[in-house]
Symmetry: D2
Subunit: 290 residues, 4 copies
């Protein structure tokens, strides 16, 4: 019997007691076809930050470590390869539904103690996310608020999301992928200390909104999608309720600058995580096509 | 002054002396728009094999190593992450244009000794591949030859490619992504020893064909795209000429089984490598949308 | 309150409720001085196996992964380094006292759940073992039994230890390091499949013997010191009682061939683990000086 | 034919054209026996710094990365292990004779290009150092100069070494291991920025001195044994001539504080590197016994 969601919103049981995919179930063929129809100019955007030694990365994680191996024969013929050691949550990445839990329970009511070990997750792991393909809707909050970036600790409410959508002239459809631009990723290049101390993002008022609009994923240009007055914060309610209760996907550290500059408010979005067996997440290179 | 291609075909200089992207230059907005128009049913295919400890992987490479870290607070709240050590050429992956060279020169005539070190590649690295998005054309050679899979060491010639395309009723367009199904990936599950000893694939007769048809990438369901009588082989001419002379992308270890079963001979294909700074390649989860 | 040792022997509380070093407490200055006095010929033996990709290593662990980085300047000046990814229990290695537990309790009665996390151990970790320096006593069981190596699954009892010591003419002193030669390490080179299927070693009858003789460490030329009819075995009583109840150190995969050939039955032994903060063990290169 | 040493001192050819061990050849049984005879009180010193995430480590290297894996059965029985990713030159460590070269040649005149690749070194690698066991002579330069630590960029000359030895009342013997205390390791805890900017150490005047005294190894409490006005320095002559021409071993980041406090000017020293096949160095836990 599932623990009641601490926020009152839940998708447990909605797609069956055995479901491990959460909001991916909303990505119907109709959603995909409609999204493909949004491609007009044929312009492709990579929404990933460079996957580099110095991040961006959650500050308590280790840095991405890459070594290149190579060999050359006397005749000048050669080849190379890399060896990479990294967190699956490095750089631009997405969280699997086993990433966080509370009351000892994962999404859809399974025991974390039983399913999450050093060997990986036996439920809700990233290899259940074959892809996220659908309509991406950009809410350019920084553009809407006419600022370079939202401020440290500045909350985005459900009302803010509606106001921004209205100003941009976009309406949401079930199965949308929300691309949320706070402008915070600019701070990464400008002020590393500020970047790692806090962030603007959505607050708990958006949880019923996300449920109501049947959002599949929130992909934002900050650490953790949600507002944090400090890093690490005392609580991460969007992670807890979004991932564990709604089965919602969070994607982090996106670069939405060019998409916003081009005012691409809707596009075909493809996010394709690596199918790490039992993995808790994956680095990704999200693609938007307009 | 570039060394003459050993096969006589080359794209050096075609997109400027400073080009680092090779055939990606063929992916014009028109190519992308046309490919998006191929989406009819809204069905999405993940073409990746599981990214797991035991491959598939080039046999001389180390195995993918994943450890999950997790923590639980006394109140039952917890979170997890993974630490992964892997080759960038692990599982389903793509090769950057700096992956192989001969006569000491990389694609477009740059010195390998100068540009490839333990710290990575300073030319033609994977972070120059923001994405490959275009029309994917599946040539189901195993289906065409009415066999479960092509035989070990069986060569696919340019004439075979034409015959298969004709039988399937597809024609190529500049900027196409060739999805080549040999059926060899089935051997991975059936006979590991055979799988790692050899493979069917394209031979040198296809190099002028790939150039003439302006193929952007060849993505195949085997180790190395090209035919190998033994592993490792004495030579890898498709790697050498394809990557170094044509600036062509090779993508390996795809799972094309479902795409072939559905006879999806053309689709919108999205391949989005991780932007590893200076990286020699990247694991990928190629997506086809039909 | 400590759980009663399942074997009836325990050192809990013997060196204080807060002790984290176990039998290291037996290594008094007198023990060390006496051991140094055993050096006569000035011959030094390295008792480690090569630390290589293919082991020896517990079969369920990943293989040691080493990549060398190097750089050369145009004037021919250069330098190199390695990047290593490995288990701390790789090759010849020693177990920290936090390596195994039962009834949820570590050596000296502390909670495993509280002290062992993905971040390491906060009690009984390898960095509490600054070194093991003392008198090493070799029991050459294979020599005593006049066989190349003991058989798979062959048990060494307390009576066997006594008989072998008597035949060799050695007597034990408190604080001794037992170097136990089964000959099994020879099988590593001869028959890899047999090597990883089983092993000869000490059985539970030796636990009171180890306690009575105040042995500091048992260092053997096999996987796990103790007899195993199969790998992995259903139970590892020497690990459980030896490490958790006696605070005894186990050192594994030694090469004792040369020491036995020279009949060095007593020597000064130095085992110096890497002080990995919070580590569960360490690879070592044990040294015997005679 | 060897390139002339840039300093005029060399041991090339001294122990045969095929020698890969350099000054280890000086560690005769007599040297070892004599050193063992120095043990009086039976006190053991570990001379290693903690092997931890944040060093000490050469600032351009990655940090040591350790993850602990563990598993618990329902009955409370469990076990743990670590996965470590690190440079072989992490924390307290020793350099193999293949670590640096100039004029394209390694120690004893072999080609670096031929013998050092991404796969490791095929000459002069760390697995040729089975151990360093001999008489350690501490020169406490900081104590001699009555300062907490020598200053950044302060050079220690051959005359300084002699003066310090005389003041301490010690004389050198062929095959000695020089333990050099500058006090700089104290700066690691006090001022991390200063620690990584520079260091006191021996200068080029000591090279003939090291040759003349037949020193086997110099083990110091700083980054690189030798004086550096800045990090990284334009040149590292002690590394170049010491390692490549003399076949001398350098051991770095030692903690000599307790040894100096106890005025242990001579002791039995045991340094036992991990036998990493083809490795360029190894972390070590050097042991002194007095």
């Amino acid at each position: 019997m599932p623990t009641q969601s601490e926020n009152g919103v839940t998708n447990w049981g909605r797609w069956g007691a055995d479901d491990q995919q959460g909001t991916l179930n909303l990505l119907t063929p109709e959603v995909v076809s409609h999204a493909a129809g949004l491609v007009k100019r044929g312009k492709v955007y990579s929404l990933a930050m460079p996957l580099a030694f110095d991040g961006p990365q959650w500050p308590t994680r280790h840095r991405t470590w890459k070594v290149t191996t190579f060999g050359v024969q006397p005749n000048g013929r050669g080849s190379a390869d890399d060896v990479v050691t990294m967190h699956s949550h490095s750089g631009t990445h997405m969280d699997a539904l086993c990433h966080v839990w509370y009351d000892g329970q994962l999404y859809n009511g399974h025991s974390a103690a039983q399913h999450v070990t050093s060997a990986g997750a036996t439920r809700n792991a990233i290899d259940h996310v074959t892809s996220i393909v659908g309509r991406g809707v950009l809410l350019d909050m920084a553009g809407f608020k006419q600022c370079e970036h939202l401020q440290a600790g500045e909350a985005i409410t459900a009302a803010d999301l509606d106001a921004c959508a209205q100003a941009q002239g976009v309406e949401f459809r079930p199965g949308d992928i929300l691309l949320l631009r706070t402008g915070w990723i600019r701070v990464f290049a400008q002020d590393r200390e500020l970047f790692y101390a806090s962030e603007p993002g959505i607050d708990v008022s958006t949880l019923p909104w996300l449920k109501e609009h049947d959002i599949v994923a929130v992909a934002a240009d900050n650490h953790a999608v949600e507002v944090m007055a400090q890093v690490p914060p005392p609580d991460l309610p969007i992670h807890k309720v979004g991932i564990r209760d709604l089965g919602l996907y969070l994607v982090e550290y996106l670069n939405l600058e060019e998409l916003a500059a081009d005012r691409v408010y809707e596009s075909l979005v493809v996010i394709a995580p690596l199918p790490l067996t039992g993995g808790i997440g994956s680095p990704v290179n999200p693609i938007a096509i307009a």
